[in-house]
């Protein structure tokens, strides 16, 4: 049962993606650590960290694609789960500082000493242990998503209404985390980290290790998403996206399906945040900003909804553009981002990957039908379609799941 579950995750597109990821995960750290600095193939440390950051963004985008692309839940609050995962990791990193802080208090982080707190709040207990923090990285976003989803999906809140309350969720957390008496460092957040699992957080080797960990997390989550979306559950999700009430009348409890995929997605976002924080060296309430969540949606739209690979590609491309723009033309960036979103919505509604794979299937279709027309080879297993029909023709063989090539519908 389990093996067939995992086996489903694989096909050509996933294979290409995994091969690329394997190359990146190996070559970038090697280029940084082993290639001498004088060589043109040397990868500077800042670039390793930057790319590591992109990978965590890609994981966040993957999480959004899972709920938006496949189940039609347009979340405009996924940065909240990302930031919560980040805070859980940040709390672990703060506890690792120990007496090396400015005030040298063995137990209390600097900001608590500064606020004249006498003892550690109860919710900071346990974060000195990595396993506990790692568990919280999954549990805190997961639990919040579960509770939020339980109420929202049971009350059948859908479409823009759901999007708006996800924005409210992340905004409420933003305001809460800004408060000093919440005990999360207020405005300044958590920073000045020293080491992680005993390794110096500034060292090149640690940075390369964090990069590789981000890449691995992305690969693992990608495989989980593939297995989920290509299972029968994945087909039910797409059914919910396209015709929710029909799915109900077939006997599926739509709210359970949404809750499952929503919670899974939030946990992935939490992992992304936890890997992001040690690489950028700070987590503050700004990560909860509503605009951040909206940006993630743009990454997914650019790359292509309901493609998984597209979400990763979109996140990396847009963030690469952002890095370049904010250095070269800082005033232009927001206009460029807005323009990009308008362009993609108007001209590439399926995103980069969606458009490419449509073009590819159309091409293959044409080749098959022209072969058939010349009388060479066997008759096509699939009759050519009328020109008006959508181009993404399913491969022959009825049992093949093709949720990945499905037309994503607008969320609302």
């Amino acid at each position: 049962m389990m093996s067939s579950f995992l086996f489903r995750a694989m096909d050509a597109r996933a294979g290409i993606f995994l091969a690329l990821m394997a190359a990146v995960i190996i070559l970038v750290p090697v280029g940084n650590l082993l290639v001498p600095e004088t060589s043109p193939f040397h990868v500077p440390t800042y670039a390793v960290t930057l790319m590591g950051k992109y990978l965590t963004y890609a994981l966040l985008a993957l999480a959004v694609d899972l709920v938006w692309g496949y189940c039609g839940i347009l979340s405009l609050g996924h940065a909240a789960f990302f930031a919560l995962g980040g805070y859980a990791m940040g709390m672990y990193l703060m506890r690792q500082i120990g007496t090396r802080g400015v005030y040298g208090d063995p137990l209390l982080p600097d900001f608590m000493v500064f606020l004249n707190w006498q003892e550690l709040p109860w919710y900071w207990y346990g974060f000195d242990m990595f396993w506990f923090a790692a568990l919280m990285v999954l549990l805190v976003p997961g639990l919040l998503a579960f509770v939020f989803g339980w109420f929202a999906f049971r009350s059948r809140v859908t479409g823009v209404y759901l999007s708006i309350i996800t924005q409210a969720l992340t905004y409420a957390l933003l305001l809460a985390f800004f408060r000093n008496d919440m005990g999360f460092g207020g405005n300044n957040g958590l920073t000045d980290f020293k080491d992680i699992l005993g390794f110096d957080i500034q060292a090149d080797t640690t940075r390369a290790g964090l990069f590789a960990a981000s890449g691995l997390a992305l690969v693992v989550c990608f495989l989980i998403c593939r297995s989920v979306t290509r299972s029968k559950l994945g087909k039910v999700l797409v059914a919910v996206r396209d015709a929710e009430s029909r799915t109900r009348f077939l006997g599926y409890r739509v709210e359970h399906y949404k809750l499952f995929v929503w919670t899974l997605s939030a946990m992935m976002a939490g992992v992304a945040g936890a890997l992001y924080v040690p690489q950028v060296g700070i987590i503050n309430p700004g990560e909860f900003a509503p605009a951040n969540s909206i940006e993630v949606v743009i990454w997914v739209a650019v790359g292509g909804r309901a493609t998984l690979v597209g979400a990763v590609l979109g996140a990396v491309l847009v963030n690469f553009a952002k890095t370049w723009f904010t250095a070269a033309l800082p005033d232009i960036w927001l206009f460029a981002l807005g323009g990009l979103f308008v362009f993609v919505t108007l001209f590439l509604p399926k995103g980069i990957v969606g458009t490419l794979s449509d073009g590819w299937t159309a091409l293959r279709q044409r080749r098959i039908s022209s072969d058939f027309g010349e009388g060479s080879g066997d008759p096509p297993s699939q009759a050519p379609q009328s020109p008006g029909a959508p181009a993404n023709v399913p491969p022959p063989g009825p049992a093949v799941s093709r949720a990945g090539a499905a037309h994503p519908q607008p969320a609302e």
């Binding site: 087909k235 396209d242 029909r246 959508p390």
Partner: protein, 248 residues
């Protein structure tokens, strides 16, 4: 007819939307194995009645029982579908971005929980069942086609196939012949008669020729309650029916 021996039992059901009485003290009984046609002018409450039976709308008053003992007013859509009531909508509603095969696989009677579907592996028996259904609804050569690419009539048939895949005890079929050619309509009538051999079926339809070809007991709805009941010839002879519906 008593509640205990009925398959579907509606008694005194009323539903109002903003003061408009969509159903007004409606009482209706369907026997096990029966096929029933329901006709009535627009706004007579046909679709609202289906909404009440399938749990989409809660009645303001009245009783709705399935198999004599199960109170449908306290169940939701998914639970009612699991009990064995399948519904075909007036506008064909299939999953357009799934293939014909996947549409049937989703409808196939099987555990409906998220974890059962997550680890579900299609069995040989399920494949055979889907292949048989494909043959019945004449979509065998379209099985890997996206449902979006089907013609209107084919979508109607696919939806009927999905209904059968659920293996329900009672099928509620809302205007199955709408938008079909005469030939398709005739074929649909044959298909429904075939289905009625081992299922109970309630058909809502406007097309009188279609209803005639079904040759079953007819219930005429008007302004949310039953106006007449009996064979088509019997109800067509009823003056009130002629006045509100047939005569126009």
């Amino acid at each position: 007819m008593t509640r205990a021996t009925s398959l579907l039992y509606l008694d005194g059901v009323s539903v109002a939307f903003d003061g408009f009485k969509a159903l007004n003290d409606l009482s209706l009984t369907i026997d096990p194995g029966e096929m029933r046609a329901i006709i009535g002018p627009n706004g007579a409450g046909k679709t609202t009645m289906m909404d009440v039976i399938t749990g989409k709308t809660r009645p303001d008053s009245g009783e709705v029982y399935f198999s004599g003992a199960i109170d449908l007013t306290s169940e939701d859509e998914a639970a009612i579908a699991e009990l064995g009531i399948g519904r075909k909508f007036q506008k064909p509603t299939v999953f357009e971005s799934h293939t014909v095969w996947d549409n049937l696989e989703l409808a196939l009677k099987a555990p409906r929980g998220p974890f059962s579907t997550l680890f579900h592996v299609i069995t040989g028996a399920e494949k055979t069942r889907i292949e048989n259904l494909l043959e019945l609804i004449r979509l065998t050569d379209k099985s890997s086609e996206l449902a979006a690419n089907l013609s209107h009539g084919q979508k109607q048939w696919l939806e009927i196939g999905m209904l059968l895949a659920q293996d329900p005890k009672l099928l509620l079929v809302d205007e199955p012949a709408a938008g079909m050619t005469d030939a398709e309509t005739a074929e649909t009538a044959d298909l429904l008669k075939d289905i009625a051999k081992d299922h109970s079926v309630v058909v809502v339809e406007h097309d009188m020729d279609f209803v005639r070809s079904l040759d079953v007991k007819v219930t005429v709805l008007h302004e949310g309650s039953v106006l007449a009941e009996g064979s088509l010839d019997h109800v067509s002879a009823d003056e009130r029916v002629v006045e509100v519906y047939l005569g126009r």
